[in-house]
Amino acid sequence: MEVRTKADLEKMKEKGLKSLYPNKTKISVGMATCGLSTGAGKVYETIQKEIEKSKLPIQLSQTGCIGFCQREPVVDIFEPGKPRVFYQGVTPERSVELVHQWLDNRVVEDLLLCKMEGEDWVVEGKVKDYSVQHIPAGIDGTPHYHQVPFYSKQLKIALRNCGFINPDHIEEYVAKGGYFSLYKALFEMKPEEIIEEVKRSGLRGRGGAGFPTGSKWESCRKSKADRKFILCNADEGDPGAYMDRSVLEGDPHSVIEGMIIGAYAIGAHEGFIYVRDEYPLAIQKLRIALHEAEKAGLLGENILGSGFSLKINLFRGGGAFVCGESTALMASIEGNVGEPRAKHIHTTESGLWDLPSNLNNVETWNNIPIIISRGADWYSRIGTEGSKGTKVFSIVGKVNNTGLVEVPMGITLREIVYDVGGGIPEGKKFKAVQTGGPSGGCIPERLLDLPVDFDRLTEVGSMMGSGGMIVMDESTCMVDVAKYFMGFLKEESCGKCTSCREGTKRMYEILTEITEGRGTMDHLDLLEELGWVTAEASLCQLGGTAPNPVLSTIRYFREEYQEHILNKRCPAKVCRALLRYQILSNVCTSCGRCAKVCPAEAITGKQKTKKEKGKPFKINIEKCIKCGMCFEACKFKAIEVE
């Protein structure tokens, strides 16, 4: 259907509401990448077949990620008058069970994640009450959504629709208030007023640098040119980070709506979404969404009859980390090698094809519709003095709950790691958390009460980055961590600047020396010197931030470096070359398992037999290749690692 008036939009909303909240049971399967990788596709098929086979009165739908990636596949069931329930870890076999149990007015308790009696409609600032009257049997002990520790401290603004709507259905996005902000922007606001609103909201770029979004728009609007571009950075390249992917897979229209509003505000009629090719599902969802929006007249020529036109193209990136840098991204769209250039003249003046270009990240665009609908005053009440709103993090590593979390700025790292993340598994001790992707810094335990915002993270030698968060426990070696990230960055540096190309390579080389027992104290000074020059002398922010993992680990874990260098010991027992295996003769039972598995034939002894007592086994240090096979094989904990 084509939308020409507000009444048309309301009509589309009605249609979407019927699809979101039908008058019968509706089952939604979380089918973002995280769901699919754990078998959500099979779950969906199984339920679909069962519905057809048994002619069940059920509407089946698919949705994006509700954040708890670790518990996928997640399946939720909605039925008018009943609480909505979310199941976790659903297998194809058990999916049939929970469908039939539901129809018998029961829940499958051991699979329940949580229940919900109302849903936040953030865009409209309302709560959609499910008007619960019937309680299925067995549900009493299940926590409410907001009582689940993983969700209780979260505030979902950017992820408002992820896991709740079918991303392929534009009506469902509209049902939750989507494209009403666009209508408001086009017909009730002047471009300058939109920019003013975004400025007042305090929104800062979510791609990492944290530049004030409104100011960027303003300078792009002021740039005089016949053509301008609006760009979306979806080249999420940080290892372990998937915030943007989840938004694109679960709620692509929020990004498109944000871009249209932005384009109208700065006066651009052409746009690109630069998305990495490794995100096939996000690309597919974006394609569908762009097509649906165009078909509805919400994108393309004469949007909503306002006279404003915008064409958005999809551009697939080839997988270079550096192409997430603004000027490299633009070079890549132009068809050139993705290499950054100096930007003393801002890209808002001279960007893509030397024309004014406004680039924002997925999450930034996604925040725009909500700022327009709820207003800057509401938005700026969330967060801290210098960082407003919420931030999505992908929390991974040595933490109980891994997944996608959205928290208000100013929350402490401790709350994220221990409350949302559920603490460290296996009773181990927390050691550090790395924020900001590969070029972020490692923050130690004593700084865990640090409020998370752009400025505070920078102060302690890390950064917000795009929102990757890696938790490390005591079994992590910080020198090894620094080496790992330097290995990544030296490969991903475009190689243009001497400082970045050679600096990262040499830091990696020195870290390798240290982890292999050839480190000297001079190496520490050299690392600091290289770190300084790489950050200070490089052209773009890849080099500018690359030394963070090295400098922050030296700053907070200097003793660990010294142990490696002076005592040739790796306290976390990670650096293989520094490990020493030995067999405790008083514990050894002479079973001989260790000698059997040793690939280097470094273990000798006399195996016990039924008749004879054996002699304890011994490891020949000269021959030992430190593979750890004996350690794994010993059933009596007779092998010690130093």
Partner: protein, 237 residues
Amino acid sequence: MIPFVIDGQPVEGKEGGNVLEVALDAGFDIPRLCYHESVKPYGACRLCLVEVVRRGRARMTTACTYPVLEGIEVLTRTEKVLRARRIMIELILAMCPGDKLIQDMAREMGVQQVRFKQEEKDCILCGLCGRVCEEVVGANAIQFAFRGDRREMIPPFQGEAMSCIACGACVVICPVNVIKMKEEGDERTIIRWKRTLKMKQCKVCGNYFAPLFQLEKFKEQAKLPKDFFDVCYTCRS
């Protein structure tokens, strides 16, 4: 002309120009490897680092990529700048320890020893050859390939540079002289780009004076008569 200051001395630069060209014209000694006045500034070698004070804030940047702006103050010899340049040339020397020019520059800039493992590369990755080929010659025969430490200036797919006209501009512009050209009989070869072209013989003196492929290209580009290059430059003048 736009006025600004370098090391306390008032200078002027044209709009759209860069700080390095103004500084060099005014006689300041700033080391550089990837800069050449015939191509656009690139900012790869990071040797022409200076500090620029603008609106009260100082930052280190390369002079070649910094635009001429009114009222800026450029500092070319602060301790910070000299230290950064010194590490930069040390890093380049560790990469190409055999390059004579790099050895000399490193010595001049006070590098006494190289603290890194020495490699055996010859190319300093300044990119001048590729840029002159693209911007001046228009042949686009070579380009940077690969990322990070594996970065390399190569012809397409590391084969013969099929659009190279063997003009030798890259040979001339290379600051460390690692692109060699040889002429034998009726052939000219740019060794690094694996490109060998037959030469044209002058109708007057009988000398081989330029690659046929190059002359054909020039005739086509400038719409010259068919026999325009039958006689060599020397015999013609």
